[in-house]
């Protein structure tokens, strides 16, 4: 594929080009080296913990720094459930925003609205966390939780006392934080749907909603799915804001009103004051698990997004 380009360069014998290629190539390799070293460091440094606890590290739920017994299950549970909860809340919102921006919004509104939504992603997470402690947590405790327990209280999900800091609050904060990325990528996916697709549906007598539902959404399906996965990845890795509102209690509870704990939070909370070797090693192993989950999620997203780009090329031609 690059053959013609390459022979063009070599014919001209531009040594400058070769140097340039070498330099930028080095930069690219540099990133790979850093990623590899990071992974290697986490793997090597977690050896003590891997040897001491083995696979039980992932299945035991006692986290006791005093007697040095470490099991990461509550953190894995908290991370996965809070990220999943965030998706449940954020996906309908993001899809709504994306559909409005790509299909319905007047041309004049589109750019400023997209801009504002993306601006939300630029707010530092500690600010969102403080807002979560002082505004969101009391609001959920006083208004949302009573409503949920009144109407859905028969589900174990909405039982028990609610003190503001909880899995639910963590999920809502995460949802707010992933809406910008999920909605803007979904919007891009919807915008790649060829106009003929819409015109065809409308010509067959479909209403606006039917056009979106039957002609546009299925076409952009994989792109939207990729956006959701990227949002999930963001939610898994988010640390500061969720640490401030989730309650930091390493226990597995079926109620969303109970406090919980995430993998990123326990590292942020305890790493600085951890001094014993096994303790540090266990925290590093949590980091390793987090990195593995993030890598898997991101690779899945990449594959889906690249599938989307192929569809786009075909559609336009």
């Amino acid at each position: 594929m690059n053959k013609s380009k390459w022979s063009f360069f070599s014919r001209r014998k531009l040594s400058g080009d070769l140097i340039f290629e070498g330099v930028v190539g080095l930069f690219a390799v540099f990133v790979l080296v850093i990623a590899f070293l990071l992974f290697r460091e986490l793997f090597v440094e977690s050896e003590l913990s891997r040897n001491a606890f083995g696979f039980g590290f992932l299945t035991h739920s006692t986290w006791d720094p005093v007697s040095e017994v470490f099991g990461a299950l509550p953190f894995i549970f908290g991370t996965v459930v809070s990220a999943f909860l965030a998706l449940v809340i954020a996906v309908p919102f993001s899809l709504g925003i994306a559909i409005y921006l790509s299909e319905l919004a007047p041309e004049k509104l589109r750019t400023p609205l997209s801009f504002i939504i993306e601006l939300l992603a630029a707010i530092p997470s500690v600010i969102i966390g403080l807002w979560g402690i002082f505004i969101l947590a009391p609001f959920i405790r006083d208004y949302l939780a009573p409503v949920l327990s009144t109407y859905l209280g028969f589900l174990p999900l909405f039982q028990g006392p609610m003190y503001g800091l909880s899995m639910l609050t963590g999920g809502v904060i995460l949802a707010i934080m992933i809406i910008p990325i999920t909605s803007s990528i979904s919007k891009e996916a919807l915008l790649t749907v060829p106009i003929q697709q819409r015109e065809g549906a409308l010509a067959l007598g479909a209403t606006g909603w039917e056009t979106t539902r039957m002609a546009v959404l299925p076409y952009a399906r994989s792109g939207i799915f990729g956006a959701v996965i990227l949002g999930f990845g963001r939610a898994i890795g988010e640390t500061m804001a969720v640490t401030m509102v989730i309650g930091n209690s390493p226990r597995i509870s079926e109620s969303l009103f109970a406090p919980s704990y995430t993998m990123a939070s326990v590292i942020a909370n305890e790493f600085v004051e951890a001094t014993s070797k096994l303790y540090i090693s266990s925290l590093i192993e949590i980091g390793l698990m987090l990195l593995l989950i993030s890598i898997i999620v991101n690779i899945a997203a990449r594959i889906l997004v690249s599938k989307l780009l192929k569809v786009e090329g075909g559609g336009r031609a």
Binding site: F20, R141, F271, V272
Partner: protein, 368 residues
């Protein structure tokens, strides 16, 4: 095309050159000492606990007025990180809220531990209509944090406070989620007064809490306290005073209920002086919780500065020793305005002996 590439290469070259030449320029002022005596400026770098940070900052600015050639940088990165940095010798002094454990002490040979100030931890609460001064004893506090006492009108609490009408409400327990010296002091106290706590939970900077919600930092716990009625938690005395959060009077070893103040905390420290080891010995078992004395508040702890006995740089070592000497004497007068407990006379004289141990090639760095 050629021109563009040439420009890019030149820019890249400039960028690289910039990266390379910047490094030594940044490092220089902190490590080198000007040879001429009259002009020498020394930077002392420290790292460690967040608790003494306001006090050390105050010292740093005040000491600059006394000796403008000395600059003190302190990073408040947490006790654990402070211990790691002094062990790796990347700083000139460390600071820790807890004494070095036996293991840490053997890891850093030749370390001196100098108590610089004293901190108190209070049991704060949010009980609508009830001011400060609810009386609690150690075993009751332990039972609350173990989840055994669940209601505010539990007979054990009521019997200590017959004059107060307690509500029939669940107690919400708030604790620190981040590893901290405050947690260490509090759990050290509970381990001292409750065998049950000692066997089930123990003491540490992070522990496996049987019940409760975790807030990040003093601000996280006080956020929980102020927003949720019927919450109980533990925070630093200074923080409770500044935020005006009511706190309990705690029963001490002599059986008296003591209000946490700077004075009652200092009493606990002076009561413990006779048991303190030498500055270069291990302090791992030192504790002033549940101290003797009629008027001693039982939940407190020294906070320590950590320095090496054998200094490797004569000028710097001398400056450091002089600063420490000043800090444990004149520096103490800034304590109370910042709500720190100043060191009792007995601890100051112990520190004098410790600082005199600091030497360069066997030569003591300070004469007193």
């Amino acid at each position: 095309m050629k021109l563009k590439i040439a420009i890019i290469l030149i820019l890249a070259g400039v960028l690289l050159a910039g990266c390379v030449s910047n490094q030594p320029a940044q490092v220089q002022p902190t490590t080198t000492v000007q040879p001429t005596k009259s002009l020498e400026t020394v930077t002392l770098n420290g790292a460690g606990a967040t608790f003494p940070y306001p006090l050390i900052s105050k010292w740093s600015s005040q000491y600059y007025g006394i000796n403008p050639n000395i600059q003190i940088n302190y990073q408040s990165v947490g006790s654990g990180a402070g211990i790691k940095q002094i062990t790796a010798r990347t700083v000139d002094f460390g600071a820790s809220d807890a004494p070095l454990t036996e293991q840490e002490y053997t890891n850093v040979s030749g370390i001196l531990q100098i108590p610089e100030s004293i901190g108190a931890v209070v049991i704060a609460y949010n009980l609508p209509g009830i001011q400060k001064g609810v009386k609690l004893s150690g075993d009751v506090v332990a039972d609350i944090f173990l989840g055994k006492i669940k209601k505010w009108n539990d007979p054990k609490i009521v019997s200590l406070n017959p004059e107060i009408q307690f509500p029939d409400k669940d107690i919400i327990v708030a604790h620190r989620s981040d590893g901290s010296g405050t947690t260490f002091v509090f759990t050290d106290y509970l381990s001292a007064v409750s065998p049950d706590w000692k066997s089930k939970v123990g003491k540490g900077k992070s522990v496996n809490w049987p019940v409760g919600l975790g807030g990040k930092g003093n601000e996280g716990v006080s956020g929980l306290l102020t927003q949720n009625p019927y919450t109980v938690g533990y925070i630093e005395l200074a923080y409770a005073k500044l935020q005006n959060i009511p706190y309990a009077y705690i029963k001490n070893k002599a059986g008296k209920f003591i209000e946490p103040t700077l004075e009652t905390t200092a009493n606990a420290a002076s009561g413990a002086v006779s048991t303190l080891p030498a500055g270069d010995a291990s302090w791992s078992s030192v504790s002033i919780v549940d101290a003797t004395g009629d008027n001693s508040y039982p939940i407190g702890s020294f906070t320590y500065l950590l320095v090496y006995k054998d200094q490797t740089d004569q000028t710097k070592g001398k400056m450091l020793a002089e600063f420490l000497w000043w800090a444990v004497h004149d520096g103490q007068k800034y304590s109370s305005e910042l709500l720190y407990v100043s060191l009792p006379e007995e601890v100051r004289s112990l520190n004098e002996k410790t600082i005199k141990l600091m030497n360069y090639n066997g030569q003591p760095l300070i004469q007193g």
